[in-house]
Symmetry: C3
Subunit: 139 residues, 3 copies
């Protein structure tokens, strides 16, 4: 198994940190910019895939608006990251666990779900970006 | 957005690991030493900020004594770290999620709360240290 | 405290990611290969230690078979990693938190337990491997 360079592994950790803090604080454009312009987000939690910056931005906006409306703060807690070589030097595959934790105003936190992030990443002039994220309930 | 060097990002990950394992195992001085000598800890979970090594050490001692007394083991589970450039080469800003998980003796674990760590870090001769930690329930 | 090189810290993060995704998806041999051939796994959750590739592989197979049988998907969520120098240049000690989260088919996830991983790692020709893992409920 070929070793993924240190810089690339850490860039993915940073990307995942940025993603969570962006979407959870309502920075929808910042979240969408962690994907390529044609990036795809495929999840069983939502009826159909989202693709492209505009759709991803709208998705993140709806997510945050839903939190505001419900009064429950949701957090994307990401851990257990494994970065693997991709099919070329300019692609990577990464796996991670995502815990969605919600805290209602004045209430106790609750783990809503635990999913697996399975990402295809591509190197761009701005750094690594997600080209396709597949969220699994079951791997 | 300027890239934070790999060494610095990883130093923050290490610092956060050290912090949690120190405070959770009762090593109060070790925990306090992850802050600068004038470091500040500001949290809505506690009535007022703690500042300086002596106060931080006492804070960590009280935390651990509380666990021993209650028979509930508390853990600081840190993840979803994002390290950002600071206002100079010798400062960083870092965000992370903190899950406080408690396990009573012989009982099932419980997620007490999920908070956001928002840190201002400064480079010292001993490595990166927290100058000011602000804990948010809501970002 | 001597600084652990960036490459080595990150190799441990990668190893932990690989371990979790391997055992949770039923890749028992892949999981066992993250230990040295004589690697040991010592946990209070199980009646006796497991040692050596064959026993570790069988352990991981039983783990996954148990999930399939029960219909509850278990995940090893690892975070809060701290990598420390070992007693030589070719050994490391690492601490991490492990959350075992289970999701029954069609049900809500539940945190089963939170343990501390306390690992002795050794450098091999294939990279860092776990020589001895001790799982603690209480440190």
């Amino acid at each position: 198994m070929s070793e993924v360079p240190v810089e690339d592994v850490l860039a993915v950790h940073q990307l995942y940190g940025r993603q969570s803090h962006a979407i959870d604080s309502g920075q929808a454009a910042r979240w969408a910019a962690t994907f390529t312009p044609d990036g795809e987000f495929v999840s069983p939690s939502y009826p159909e895939p989202e693709a492209g910056t505009a759709a991803l931005t709208a998705f993140a906006e709806r997510f945050h608006a839903g939190c505001v409306e419900s009064g429950e703060r949701l957090r994307h807690v990401v851990s257990t990251v494994e970065v693997r070589s991709g099919q070329s030097e300019d692609t990577l595959r990464a796996l991670a666990y995502l815990q969605i934790v919600g805290t209602p105003e004045g209430g106790a936190p609750r783990l809503h779900r635990l999913t697996v992030l399975d990402d295809e990443l591509v190197r761009t002039a701005e750094g690594w970006r997600v080209r396709r994220r597949t969220v699994h309930r079951e791997p």
